[in-house]
Symmetry: D2
Subunit: 341 residues, 4 copies
């Protein structure tokens, strides 16, 4: 048996741990051969391969990134994409394929499975917004990084009596903002799931100063104020003449300054949330995903993906992964109201 | 309503986060008063109290230890203990008690509940060995600390071509050893649940050297070799004349040296695994436990404790917490066989 | 003897370690009394004081911020400022004053010394730009934080084949950018001391992609391109209508995208560089500064400040601290040319 | 020109940064070829070589260990060792050799230089005990690791009211113990340079409990009590029958328990202090050492080694490195008396 492996979509700590788990168990227990496809779906589409065996996975457990490379190439959007992928799988005598990736990558996997490809999926999203699994690897690392940053902001907020805004990842789901904000003791947490009211934000900010502290505001990159609270000029060019929109973090800091008269500063964590060595939790989860994905291949349980339920790794239909995005439940968000302000 | 709060047993990162969650929600949402009892059950037993309100819980979220102190005092083992506890609760007009602790602390809580005390429990064990909950706070922090230590040992093991043994916590359950060993890429992981065979350990060690690497051995403090493999002298005094037993980590290093002729060195992490600032996961979990414990009081759902199931916080009977210890399932342990040697 | 202590200027990890060193040695060895002045020079100016003794300095060694608070209040810019400060020092029977701060704070100290106040200085600047001392505390912490961030960016830069720009502190001196850039293995480092040429920056960026890697660009907040390379529109309002200038990091990312066609993303570390727990080096240096500052008081060596020379703590005239800013020597900067691109 | 490079002695974070600095500058600026010798002096002795060029040094900056391997092989103790080394250098047409290592490694280098070999040295000792340089790389990393461990012990010491002993590296010099002990706020610091008095240690321990805190004791592995205070049994076998001496940390914990009646626990950091990723300071220093070592070769300034003086890298005769070990000055140690107890 020869198994192909690919990683697609955005960077996520733990990808290498998954690959290592797959290769170690597949080689040692099931005597499989492995073939690496480069740069996500570009690999099988363009026959871009790389050797993948025990030597290639040595020492990669703690490393960020992916030894297989990644891309957002989508064979479904390429003329004859599915046929070319199938031809290349045949050409390299690949019996089954393990695809590690998010909604898009797994969506392609689901379609290929309908076209007869033996495929098993491993879910990956730094944003933790996949409905079919309790957690995805990479998320815990991102939350730890954001939490450490918030920890560091506290003393400075106090010393300077400034509002400190920190923008974290999360275009459609506020999980990183919520978890790191609660873990870091933030005073305001703004998520994409619920448009925020600048009046309320400023009330929290002022309440915090009243008791002689300074507020930390965590904002997900996809969070937005209520309709009408954000005035965008017709001329959306910045001071240097480039067409651009400032991030929500910067906008928020300016708006808070303008409304409350308090100085505000912004930190934009950006890509440091999705790079570097994974946390212990993410290495554990990613390793187990890898071990169980190769078991699914062995069981010929194709068209499924591995998922975490409680402390168990289970299998769910690949289609499930892409059905519904997991966003922050308003009831969960409301649990933390007592920490705001 | 006045609510008493106490923390019992060993130190565990996240205790302060629980206390803060309880006090913030209880005060702001339910308008409760709080009273802190000092040093676990010694507090209500000896009427040792301390003020507990919003000011006392400011800034404690990231701090290790417990602002309420802890002890292993057990009122069930004290003459008239239960009566004295009840008298003191009456004296301070405490309507309900939230007890944060492990098997012993919650065992007392269960007994007191049978004697009519309104008590809610919050489970706490660094070893993660409580059956009623998926995870306990403090465990993730300990695993991260042990994993970082293992990470650092790898390069040195290689450079020195030495066996490096690291002893981690876990008297009865091997969760910390297993999680940190897998996350750290250890070559041998030894847990209390299964007596290990020195022949097999040495075979793994030698296999590792054969491919020109050096082995990392993670051993839980409670792990033991097969019967007859550990020779203990009649005279159990150490070289300095003190009565003592060396830890299993040191014993293992000496035994591996003696059997394989390879140099071996030991690291004993000890109490650094249970101190210091909690990981983001532990702060999140501990905070949620605190919020839900005070909800249980509000619902007058006494005799219960909060627990994690998947991503939900649920309530289970206090008795359940002490019924059965959660040890590492042999099937789970066997999943990782492919990484050994 | 009663000694006043104050901390002025921006936040800096290690301030509390200095205070603790002063109070521990002053109290235990010299039997001094201490009085804390709040919020820098605002303290003696407005008679804002706080108790300062052994109990107040317990546990503060690892904490960021300053227990005395800080501000940028300058008594030299206040009517009758010097007279009011001297009156308050007399009123509280303060025999000598230890001022911990940067150029501005120590400039006031120097002037007060000329007016007969017994003052000793401790230099503080996160930017490490004081000429009279090899290093200032806080700097090592900031460099470590920035380096860890750069470490995390590497894998993501590769996986995404993106240019990653990281903006670090340093308005007038590029020390943080240079040290963290070299320690983090950056491919371009831009400092305020030398205007950069966008053509050269883009050449480095493209060179990096040619060998199939992705570039990390570290830029100090005060760095600027060559005259004429930055076009600023007359209308310096941002897309939301606020008057503002985007930071240099964001500008750079947009400019690189525009010129090279490669995607670029920005991380702005902001205040997380100056908050939180100090590194071991900074705690050691800050503690020694505190111990030696109180020795200077004991020796009545007023008008001096402590400074690091090699591994020794020496005393230099206060005036020296403010004479000349220590910027990155072009020769030192040129040493690292081989790492660019 | 072809330059040989080797790393000898114990593991030390920063070795790879030195190698990278040498190769990058040597290749790009001076157009040198490089040859790696494997495992310290074993390399030139046994003609064990490995390719060394720009591709080999990619990505190694943050990695612990050494890509060249290390050993304690000493050609001066091998029959015909010097002749064999010289023959192999000739055979591989090596024009100059850069030796990175401690006292022993550089001692060999000095002797070889006397025998006409073109050699430049780079000093390396995790213990920071080389007299010729202000600091050596690796030391700052070790101190940070030990300090973080001490930080974590504090809360647990308090909660458990236990004495916590932590044993750190330092056979002959107490630099790591002193720096980490001061940075971590330890209550007792014991170094090899000065035999400690158990009576005084116990007095400090008891003083700490009197004010209701719990003591942290940092002890260097080479520290010893006063003559006569350590009773060693004739029979120096441990409880398991192996010949061994317990480490000083364990001995100390038992002795404190026996004398004061307080519970004591030990952490032995061991090799985690010398492995893993280097701190920013160590990467900066190691990189600069590498750059300057290759400059020394270019200047044909053989028989020298690079050294740190203040913020400058200078060259000193190789012989100087081995003349005198740098131990903790009693006056420096005494500076910190005010923190003990």
């Amino acid at each position: 048996m020869r198994i192909g492996v690919l990683t697609g979509g955005g960077d996520c700590p733990g990808l290498n741990a998954v690959i290592r788990g797959i290769v170690r168990k597949g080689t040692q227990l099931y005597d499989y051969d492995f073939l690496g496809f480069r740069d996500g779906w570009r690999g099988p589409l363009e026959a871009a391969t790389t050797p993948l065996g025990i030597p290639e996975v040595r020492g990669i457990l703690p490393l960020g990134g992916t030894i297989l490379g990644s891309s957002r190439t989508n064979p479904l959007k390429v003329v004859d994409g599915i046929r070319r992928v199938k031809e290349n799988l045949d050409k390299y005598e690949v019996d089954a394929l393990i695809a590690i990736g998010g909604e898009d990558t797994l969506g392609v996997a689901a379609t290929l499975h309908e076209h007869g490809v033996n495929v098993v999926g491993v879910p990956k999203t730094i944003d933790n917004d996949l409905n079919a699994t309790d957690y995805t690897f990479g998320f815990d690392t991102a939350v730890n990084i954001a939490t450490e940053a918030i920890d560091r902001l506290h003393t400075t907020a106090e010393s300077h009596k400034r509002v400190l805004v920190i923008e974290v990842m999360g275009r459609h789901a506020g999980w990183i903002a919520l978890h790191s904000g609660i873990a870091g003791g933030a005073n305001v947490i703004l998520i994409p799931e619920q448009r925020f009211d600048m009046d309320r934000v400023c009330a929290w900010v002022e309440q915090r100063f009243r008791i002689n502290y300074a507020p930390i505001v965590v904002v997900a990159e996809g969070a937005m104020p209520l309709e009408g609270q954000m005035m965008v000029k017709d001329d959306s060019r910045d001071a240097f003449g480039h067409v651009r929109l400032a991030g929500i973090g910067e906008w928020l800091a300016h708006e808070i300054e303008a409304r409350t008269g308090k100085e505000a500063r912004t930190t934009v964590l950006g890509h440091i949330q999705r790079g570097g060595t994974p946390s212990a939790f993410d290495r554990w989860l990613a390793t187990r995903f890898g071990l169980h994905a190769v078991d699914a291949v062995h069981d010929e349980d194709f068209g499924t993906m591995v998922a975490l339920r409680g402390t168990d790794i289970v299998r769910v239909p690949l289609a499930e992964a892409t059905v519904r995005i997991k966003t922050v439940d308003p009831a969960l968000y409301a649990e933390f109201d007592v920490f705001f302000g």
